[in-house]
């Protein structure tokens, strides 16, 4: 009686190996990559069934689903990497409906020649983010493209979550008189990523704010189930996101420049690069629009959470047929806070 032969006689050479086309080919090499890297790292019941789909029971009620592609360059940046970002971004998109995130899927498109060590680092970071958030990656896919046809690695994640009964959060629910709150400082993620771009070469201690916001959202909803709008100001920053909401809800907005928290280091970097922090991406902040009477209670809940220590009320919604987002500047004058024209910072998430 001989012992069953091991499926993969030699383990993956994670320290020195590279992804090659066989890792996406559907053969043993791919099975080994999935087994030794992905399943080992993500380790959960649904994934461990090793099927092409995850099967699990869901409670009855209202479900949300979202998907997001991550193409950030560079892959590793101060405060995170493409792996943790791919978890946080999608968890946050689920949470912005007020939903409790349940599970994620992950699709990897990897360029031939990508170091296995980098892949392992990304997967480990993704697994940690997923475990910390309590949202498992239950199914996945791996594809390898020829060298030159990708840029290292792209990740797509999808997420599902359940909306608690009585919660109806949507971008079209802002009303004149509503308060506009944000959970913290603006622009950290974008500046942290920009600081790593080769052609800029400036050094900064700024970390990306990449974080999963669902526990803060849960606390906010527990305090005020009737929140009108939640949204995370990612690409295009605060300015773009407020304009989206103003257009969706057909309201105007007035914000106070002096009330918007921005770290001095971020302000300095923006000054140097000619950027406006209002347009720079965030990955761990949210905008909350609520009835004026709920604003103080929500601010207290946000400030009590580690991710909302710098939460602030920055302005109010108002009637405006043109749906302008306006700002009273630090000088006391007024200006429009417009949509972003063109692309300020490519591949920021």
């Amino acid at each position: 009686m001989t012992l069953p032969r091991r499926a993969h006689p030699r383990p993956l050479d994670i320290a020195n190996g590279r992804v090659d086309l066989t890792h996406g080919g559907g053969g043993r090499a791919m099975a080994q990559l999935v087994e030794e890297l992905f399943i080992k790292a993500f380790d959960n019941e649904a994934l461990n069934q090793r099927n092409d789909q995850a099967a699990f029971d869901v409670p009855a009620g209202r479900m949300v689903m979202t998907t997001d592609g991550y193409v950030i360059s560079p892959l590793f940046f101060p405060g995170g990497d493409i792996g943790s970002l791919a978890v946080h971004g999608t968890v946050n998109d689920v949470a912005m409906a007020g939903a409790v995130p349940l599970s994620l899927s992950a699709g990897f498109i990897i360029e031939e020649g990508f170091p296995l060590a980098d892949l392992a680092r990304i997967v480990a970071s993704m697994a940690k983010a997923s475990k910390d958030a309590g949202v498992p990656v239950v199914t996945g896919d791996t594809k390898v493209v020829e060298k030159g046809k990708g840029d290292g690695i792209f990740i797509t994640t999808a997420g599902i979550g359940m909306v608690p009964p009585g919660v109806a959060i949507s971008g079209d629910r802002a009303r004149a008189g509503d308060a506009i709150l944000i959970s913290g400082t603006m622009g950290d993620h974008g500046v942290a990523v920009m600081s790593q771009r080769e052609s800029l070469g400036f050094e900064t201690a700024i970390l990306s704010d990449s974080a999963a916001l669902h526990t803060m959202v849960a606390a906010m909803i527990a305090a005020v189930p009737g929140i009108h709008v939640l949204r995370d100001p990612t690409r295009g920053g605060l300015a773009a996101t407020l304009n989206e909401i103003a257009a969706q809800s057909a309201v105007g907005m007035l914000i106070e420049e002096a009330a918007v928290p921005v770290r001095p280091e971020v302000l300095g970097a923006c000054e140097l690069l000619g950027l406006d922090p209002l347009y720079v991406a965030n990955e761990g902040k949210l905008i909350c629009i609520c009835a004026d009477s709920d604003a103080e209670a929500l601010l207290a809940v946000m400030r009590a959470h580690p991710l909302g220590a710098d939460a602030a009320r920055i302005g109010s919604c108002r009637d405006d047929a043109h749906h302008f987002v306006q700002m009273r500047t630090g000088m006391g004058g007024m200006r429009v806070v417009d949509w972003l024209a063109g692309e300020q910072l490519p591949r920021i998430c």
Binding site: G330, A341, G342
Partner: protein
């Protein structure tokens, strides 16, 4: 932020605003042209018009280097980018400026031309070093401020013996443009445009100093205050100009004394004088052919001049007929006077150059100030 917050102090601005309101004579109007796009941007970005009394009005000038380049020079840059083996390096703003036939460098890039956005001339030099098989052309634009960096790049190319680097030179001069505006028929004969005073350039003046403006102040009897680009600089300059106008003075005063001297940067001026010579005339968008208003490389540096290396077309196609950029750059019209403004011409889809750069009068007004038009044009 140290050295920046001091110049963005809202309370101080309110104080200056009160002084201006108190000193401005309600019986007259004050028409002040800010020459530079940097000032235009600051005025719009900080909403400074709200801090000025109704009879103190700002007129946006032509000092936006992206805006004043004529269609022909954009076409020429596209032509260069299409030549075999050429890598064209440009500052980001130029990418979206419309040339003729609805082309732009951005569209040429999408067609397959090798066009790179760079942050400085040094990036272009590095590209030339890294790719000896390519001809790297730097699309040099700008006023006196950006000329010395171009000069330094050429010096470095010379020292490195970089035969595959050249410069498509479009450097222009501020004083000639101011003179052209003051000599324009609208100001001189027709009197349709009133310009009582100028806010003089900030960065340009760090190079050329305040002396070159003394001639205008005297000859055209218009006061000039050189001012920095921070909002308090602009407010302070307006106060100084209101005082000069009230006193009947027309002097050159320097608000930006933390960076500008009377003689400017001697070293930079000497370098530019050594390497560049005046063009007999150069076309400006809006101002037409302006005599002795631009620079080209002198003969000893001809090897680095893209216009000598290639037979670059010197055509001068007209602007879009409905586009009012020309009149806007001369201060004759305001952005809202243009039929295209905000209808077919927006920052996403610019028809004219003033809608491209953040320093352009149209882009600044659209992006920051268009709420002011509600009840005027938008609701008319």
């Amino acid at each position: 932020m140290k050295y920046i917050d001091e110049f963005r102090d809202g309370a101080v601005a309110q104080g200056i605003a009160r002084t201006i309101a108190a000193e401005a004579d309600p019986a007259r109007a004050y028409h002040i042209m800010e020459f530079c796009g940097g000032h235009t941007h600051a005025i719009s970005r900080y909403g400074l018009e709200d801090l000025l009394p109704a009879n103190v009005r700002m007129i946006h000038g032509p000092g936006c280097p992206v805006c004043v380049l004529p269609v022909g020079r954009i076409d020429a840059a596209i032509w260069l980018a299409r030549q075999d083996g050429v890598t064209l390096c440009t500052y980001g703003d130029m990418l979206r400026v419309p040339g003729s036939q609805r082309l732009s460098l951005l569209k040429a890039k999408a067609e397959g031309c090798d066009i790179r956005m760079v942050y400085s001339t040094l990036d272009a030099l590095k590209l030339a070093q890294a790719h000896p098989e390519r001809q790297v052309v730097f699309f040099a634009i700008g006023f006196e401020t950006t000329t010395p960096p171009t000069a330094v790049a050429i010096k470095q190319a010379q020292a490195l013996n970089l035969g595959n680097f050249s410069v498509f030179c479009n450097h222009v001069l501020t004083p000639s443009a101011i003179a052209q505006i003051l000599d324009s028929p609208e100001v001189r004969q027709l009197g349709t445009v009133t310009i009582d005073a100028f806010i003089g350039p900030a960065h340009v003046s760090t190079i050329i100093g305040s002396r070159p403006y003394e001639y205008f102040a005297e000859e055209y009897q218009r006061p000039v205050v050189i001012a920095g680009f921070e909002p308090l600089d602009v407010m302070q300059a307006v106060r100084m100009l209101v005082r000069q106008i009230n006193d009947g003075r027309f002097e050159v005063e320097n608000e930006f004394s933390r960076a500008v001297t009377r003689d400017g940067n001697e070293k930079a001026k000497a370098l530019v004088a050594e390497m560049f010579e005046l063009r007999r005339a150069f076309e400006w968008r809006g101002l037409g052919l302006v005599p002795y208003s631009a620079l080209r490389l002198k003969e000893p540096y001809a090897a680095w001049d893209a216009e000598r290396r290639w037979d670059v077309p010197q055509d001068s196609p007209p602007d879009n007929k409905a586009c009012e950029c020309g009149a806007i750059l001369r201060g004759v019209k305001k952005p809202v006077d243009c039929k295209l403004f905000g209808t077919v011409c927006t920052p996403e889809n610019p028809m004219g150059s003033c809608m491209v750069s953040a320093e352009g009068a149209c882009a600044a007004h659209w992006t920051y100030g268009r709420f002011r038009d509600v009840g005027k044009k938008a609701d008319a």
